[in-house]
């Protein structure tokens, strides 16, 4: 009758476990040994059949014999296989003694595959597992919008500039930058009676003669007039004035950089600071050339 069953299900009639693809026929029956739809692998069409299946990490050997064909409930006999690989293979051999070679061989192959993938599962669970956290669209949108608004409210450039100027005022940069003039003027004006420190007093003495000149010069610098006016004062002034003067010239020649200095700005800036000491006298020469 297994012949009859096969001739019905396998070829002609409908078998609900059968899945056909272009090249292969598969069998979806859970007791199938190989997974293909063959005469020798069909659990329905073979009255004597065996499989290996695993449940919760333990492997069992399922057997079906013709004697129990009438009792569907007791059809499949289940044997727990040992955890030890070799022992389990022996158990399979023991249980399936006198069974067809094909079934024995396939059972052992299937058992091997199952143990291999169980080992792999155990190894993977020990490694880090990637936890997928779903994004919530509404929240993402809300946060992006709030970030944009916060960015606008932050006014980063202004804040950074303010902070840097604060630090300059607090004298964290020490003597690197040569802008003490304004500070000293302000100090003088604000505290007429008292002098802040001795350095102030010294400076005062030094610049006494040129105070008047300096004052005028400084205002010109602020309003950023052309070079030529400054040039007149250049001949008669001291080294310090030359420094500022150079700054003015360079700035004017750069045609007024806006908030951010253009690429050449910082790079070019460095040179005047270094060249001052060396090229004191040749400067006017170069200026006349460019003018």
């Amino acid at each position: 009758s297994s012949q009859v069953v096969w001739s019905m299900l396998g070829n002609r009639q409908f078998c609900s476990y059968k899945m056909t693809t272009k090249t292969q026929n598969f069998c979806r029956n859970e007791y199938n040994l190989t997974g293909l739809c063959n005469r020798s692998s069909c659990p329905l069409a073979n009255s004597q059949y065996a499989t290996v299946r695993e449940e919760k990490g333990r492997c069992y050997l399922y057997m079906k014999t013709i004697e129990r064909a009438a009792f569907p409930r007791r059809l499949w006999e289940r044997v727990l296989l040992s955890k030890n690989y070799e022992k389990a293979l022996e158990e399979i051999d023991e249980n399936l003694i006198y069974w067809p070679r094909f079934i024995r061989h396939k059972c052992k192959q299937r058992f091997t595959k199952i143990t291999q993938y169980l080992i792999r599962i155990r190894k993977l669970t020990l490694k880090r597992q990637r936890k997928l956290v779903p994004l919530r669209r509404k929240i993402e949108r809300r946060e992006n919008r709030r970030e944009e608004k916060a960015l606008i409210a932050a006014q980063l450039d202004n804040a950074i500039e303010k902070e840097l100027l604060e630090r300059l005022k607090q004298d964290t940069y020490g003597d690197i930058y040569n802008f003490p003039i304004h500070a000293f003027d302000k100090a003088l004006q604000q505290q007429d009676a008292e002098s802040e420190s001795e350095s102030d007093a010294e400076r005062e003495e030094d610049d006494d003669d040129e105070d008047v000149d300096k004052r005028e010069f400084v205002e010109a610098e602020d309003s950023e007039l052309s070079d030529f006016e400054d040039m007149d004062k250049l001949e008669t002034s001291s080294e310090e004035e030359q420094e500022e003067e150079e700054e003015v010239e360079k700035r004017a020649s750069h045609s007024k950089s806006k908030g951010k200095t253009p690429l050449k700005g910082p790079a070019r800036r460095k040179r005047p600071y270094i060249e001052i000491e060396y090229e004191e006298e040749t400067e006017p020469g170069t200026k006349t050339k460019t003018a």
């Binding site: 950074i160 840097l164 802008f179 700054e247 700035r251 908030g259 951010k260 690429l263 910082p266 800036r269």
Partner: protein, 324 residues
């Protein structure tokens, strides 16, 4: 027409609208069925509203001028920062308890100049091009930092190795769909671990009008707006990434600016054009961070003791409440 706007109907779009349109009292523009007419009437109504508003403004200004010196001071416009819900953990600069805490917390060795920061930058598994480039640029910005690629190594095992090799901080950049989107910053000898959500990452080539590459000089650090206790500790974490003595010759500054719980990172080169003017030029990458959690020890997601976690339901209820 039964809609009650009889006298106005005849005008259509031709003749100009009268100065003041008279509507019968129980009339609204939305009741007109004809779309074109309705639209026209609505525009007219809008113009009228605007005129009234302008007139009101002018009147107020005149009153103000008329009062002269006695005028009440101008009202300060309300901003979110003004209306911020007062946070009781706001740090008072003179608070002794805070000062004492900060002298004895995990960053004390850094602030006492006993340790020099050494940073390890790494990513999640299999970083894609953008993340890799971002890591490199970050490494140029932060001095004394090294980029190592993670090839499937567990963080918990990396950390003891890092401590053994004298690293002070660990940065892990998490990546999703080829863009970096998360940052884990961990201070190493069992320091706090902060987990951020990172957004709007811009690499150097995407920044407009940028300058040349950041040099090897140690940059200055600016930390803005970290007011609460939590903000303070985060600020100190950021400060601990950079060596203590900035080289002013380099004229570089790294800024962490906190605004409404978003921390904006920028890297600039500055130059003082005069006493009152400074020019800044952006180089280096930029990104924004939002704090998600702060954990007491080093990175341990299961058994760690969390100092602060962002809980959306509890903490995002008010638009004026910020935690950093």
């Amino acid at each position: 027409a039964g809609d009650g706007s009889g006298p106005v109907l005849g005008e259509g779009t031709g003749p100009p609208a009268p100065e003041r349109v008279l509507f019968p009292p129980t009339f609204s523009v939305s009741e007109i069925k004809n779309k074109q007419r309705r639209h026209f009437m609505f525009l007219r109504w809008k113009q009228q509203q605007r005129k009234e508003k302008l007139a009101l403004k002018k009147k107020r200004k005149k009153e103000r001028e008329a009062l002269g010196d006695k005028a009440p001071p101008k009202a300060i416009p309300k901003t979110i920062e003004n209306q911020r819900v007062y946070d009781e953990t706001t740090v008072d600069p003179n608070d002794e308890e805070v000062a004492f805490d900060e002298a004895t917390d995990e960053f004390a060795p850094y602030f006492n100049r006993q340790t020099v920061p050494k940073i390890l930058i790494t990513t999640s598994d299999r970083p894609r091009g953008r993340t890799v480039r971002f890591c490199e640029q970050l490494a140029t910005v932060i001095p004394n930092s090294h980029v190592y690629y993670r090839r499937g190594l567990a963080l918990k095992r990396i950390i003891p190795q890092c401590i053994a090799r004298d690293f002070t901080d660990l940065i892990v950049i998490n990546e999703d769909r080829k863009i970096p989107n998360g940052l884990v910053l961990s201070h190493l000898p069992d320091g706090p671990t902060a987990h951020f959500r990172m957004s709007s990452v811009r690499l150097r080539k995407e920044i407009k009008r940028k300058g040349k590459e950041p040099t090897e000089h140690v940059p200055e650090v600016i930390l803005n707006n970290f007011t609460t206790r939590l903000g303070h500790s985060i600020g100190r974490m950021f400060a601990a990434l950079f060596p203590h003595d900035p080289q002013f010759i380099g004229r570089q500054v790294a800024t962490f600016h906190n605004q409404r719980d978003y921390i904006f990172f920028r890297f600039h080169r500055y130059i003082f054009k005069s006493e009152k003017k400074v020019g800044i030029q952006e180089l280096g990458p930029r990104f924004t961070l939002k704090l998600r959690s702060l954990q007491k020890g080093t990175f341990d997601s299961k058994f760690g003791e969390y100092e602060w976690i962002h809980k959306r339901r509890e903490m995002d209820t008010s638009r004026r409440k910020f935690h950093l």
